[in-house]
């Protein structure tokens, strides 16, 4: 090869090397900014202010999502939900994730942290400060759909205006709504649910339970006490109360103009109060039930499919009453109605 040819080759190699270096250098320069990825985990944010949390990532139009790492036994409060379909689920992760479709921006406020691990133990979920100025209802979350994932041991306190609420697999729930149905499942540590216009349904839950609605039905299925002394209360002004497999020893069910239906067994030492003003009371109990029955039925009627040992009976119009024993009379059952009917039947 000639000297000139070698020089040309060297030049070509040098040119290639230069090009490679240029490409490599270009590859190391900052890439164009992609849309911020949603922050899915925030470890122990130190001052508890909304500034610490980044703006919610907008996945699509009107959709916001935000997450916060918390203690497993966190107490979560939603002070106001103005209008939404709310779905809250417990999950295994120690993290709160909030997703809102077509609604307000999400803000977390940490009120208290665990002194040992520094993770939030008391968190408020509200709308962001920017939205407060726009909305006359400050701090109220709203949207077409609100989905919240929380640790399974979390306790929830929710106040809302018009919300359809479904809560599944958390420890404890305290809920107050102006209107909308409430459905609760797998709540192990107690429930206090009140809505003024809507149905309340509880399934497979435990603890101290109080269910209340002004206009709506109450349904409880497979409910048990968490510890000795836990009571079950259900109250509606204008609707039916249906209790099936409720294992509390103290049950109180009261409806003004609706019926009360109990399908379960009376436990020894239990105290059961069923009241209605104008509706009927139907008790479906096992054949081997043991209870003392105290029935006051004013202008109503009384029917029993069981043989009763009647110890006192008054059949005067308006003041009808009956005291009778079934079996050994271990539980006490008070049944009161003004003008409704009382029927005691055997479980199928």
């Amino acid at each position: 090869m000639s000297r000139n040819g070698l020089q040309v080759n060297k030049f070509a190699i040098a040119l290639c090397l230069a090009a490679l270096i240029a490409v490599d250098a270009n590859a190391q320069s900052p890439a164009p900014k992609l849309p911020k990825k949603a922050q899915t985990r925030v470890e122990a944010p130190s001052p508890p202010s909304s500034k610490d949390f980044p703006e919610p990532a907008m996945i699509g139009r009107g959709v916001s999502e935000k997450a916060l790492a918390v203690d497993a036994n966190v107490n979560i409060k939603l002070p106001c939900i103005s209008q939404a379909k709310v779905s809250i689920n417990g999950w295994e992760r120690n993290e709160i994730r909030v997703f809102i479709k077509n609604g307000s921006k999400i803000g977390f406020r940490v009120h208290e942290k665990d002194p040992v691990n520094g993770k939030p133990v008391w968190v408020l979920i509200t709308s962001l400060a920017d939205d407060k100025a726009k909305s006359p209802i400050s701090e109220c979350l709203s949207g077409e759909r609100i989905e919240i994932d929380v640790p399974m041991k979390a306790s929830l306190t929710i106040t809302g205006r018009e919300t359809e609420t479904r809560i599944d697999s958390v420890k404890k729930v305290s809920l107050k709504n102006l209107g909308g149905n409430v459905a609760l499942r797998n709540i192990s540590g107690g429930i206090m649910a009140a809505t003024f216009e809507g149905d309340v349904a509880v399934e497979n839950s435990g603890g101290q339970i109080s269910l209340e609605t002004s206009t709506g039905n109450i349904i409880a299925y497979e409910v048990s006490p968490g510890q000795i002394g836990d009571t079950f209360k259900a109250k509606t002004n204008n609707g039916a109360i249906t209790l099936q497999k409720v294992d509390h020893r103290q049950i109180e069910a009261n409806s003004v103009s609706g019926s009360v239906i109990f399908n379960g067994k009376f436990l020894p030492g239990g105290l059961y109060n069923f009241k209605t003003s104008n509706g009927s009371i139907k008790l479906a109990i096992p054949s081997d039930s043991s209870c003392r029955l105290i029935a006051s039925y004013g202008f109503g009627t009384f029917n029993s499919a069981f043989p009763l040992k009647i110890s006192m009976e008054n059949v005067s119009q308006g003041g009808k009453s009956l005291v009778a024993d079934m079996g050994a009379g271990d539980a006490t059952v008070n049944v009161t109605t003004s003008s409704g009917s009382i029927a005691i039947g055997k479980q199928p």
Partner: protein, 306 residues
């Protein structure tokens, strides 16, 4: 729909709570037997609830229709009241002088009035007796005899004309000692003139109606008092707090509870020893308290969410 069916406007007014009690009963009675009207009412109720929920914020800040009409009529009445007497006189006179025949008649009346006034100033025709009585005793007696029993007894200074004339406190003869008399006078419960019985229309035909005092059962009074307090609160705010469907449900429940209370009260009055009836009565009272309380709690929740 048959002939007896109500207009949708009447049903809407019923849902809004603007119908009279009589019409409300007729509508509910008809809806109970007419399936088409029941469906129509349910549709209207559903539409109302949708509209109310959509416009909830506006409704919370605006005044309900009925209240608005009330305030409008009140404002009109106030405007009428604020027209001065002289404006009214001026209006009347201007209307009078626009019509010549009325003007002549009015001037004749004015002349007659002046003559009558001069005549009445003549001292021989006066009936006043040193200003103590409004009418001459003789003439008043003759007038009283000709009038019916419902004529008021004219009294000067709050004193009954038929009672003996009150003389200054002066004791002419007594068995008591002067010191004791003085003590008795000092301790006497002398009523002021204002406290004395005022003249009233005597109507011997209609007996005086006295309020019937109902005796409460032991423990009933506390229920009644609590209900009265709550009702006072609720009546003022239920129009604002409850939407139409809730209002209907509330009134229906309240009627059910009131009916139960009335029935059980009768039973307990007839047989006060009936413990069962008492229990149902107290239970009904508690239901009423719970009903009223639910409205109060609802109001509190609305306020807390604002």
């Amino acid at each position: 729909m048959n002939d007896k069916c109500f207009e949708i406007g009447a049903m809407q007014a019923f849902l809004d709570g603007e119908t009279s009690p009589d019409l409300s009963f007729r509508i509910t009675g008809h809806v109970a037997v007419c399936e088409k009207c029941a469906v129509a009412l349910a549709d209207a109720e559903e539409e109302s609830s949708i509209v109310f929920s959509a416009l909830d914020r506006e409704f919370n800040s605006l005044v309900p229709t009925q209240r608005l009409w009330g305030s409008i009529t009140e404002a009109i009445a106030n405007d009428k009241d604020q027209i001065s007497f002289w404006d009214r006189v001026h209006g009347g006179l201007s209307a009078l002088f626009n019509n010549p025949s009325l003007a002549v008649a009015a001037s004749v009346l004015v002349v007659i009035g002046i003559v009558a006034g001069i005549w009445s100033l003549n001292p021989t025709s006066t009936n006043n007796v040193d200003g103590s009585l409004a009418v001459n005793t003789k003439s008043s007696q003759s007038q009283n005899s000709s009038r019916t029993e419902s004529v008021p007894v004219m009294v000067t200074g709050g004193q009954d004309m038929l009672s003996p004339v009150e003389s200054p406190l002066k004791v002419t003869e007594s068995n008591h000692s002067p010191a004791k008399l003085q003590k008795m006078v000092a301790n006497a419960n002398l009523r002021s003139i204002d406290e004395r019985p005022q003249a009233q229309y005597l109507d011997m035909k209609t007996p005086v109606a006295r309020p019937v005092v109902e005796e409460n059962l032991p423990g009933e009074e506390s229920y009644v008092r609590t209900i009265a307090d709550l009702k006072q609160n609720v009546d003022g705010q239920k129009d604002m707090t409850l939407n139409p469907s809730s209002r209907i449900a509330y009134e229906r429940d309240m009627a059910v509870v009131d009916d139960a209370i009335t029935k059980m009260k009768d039973v307990v009055r007839k047989n006060p020893k009936n413990q069962s009836a008492k229990q149902v009565l107290y239970s009904s009272y508690q239901n009423k308290i719970d009903l009223l309380n639910s409205v109060v709690e609802r109001e509190e929740l609305i306020v807390s969410l604002r």
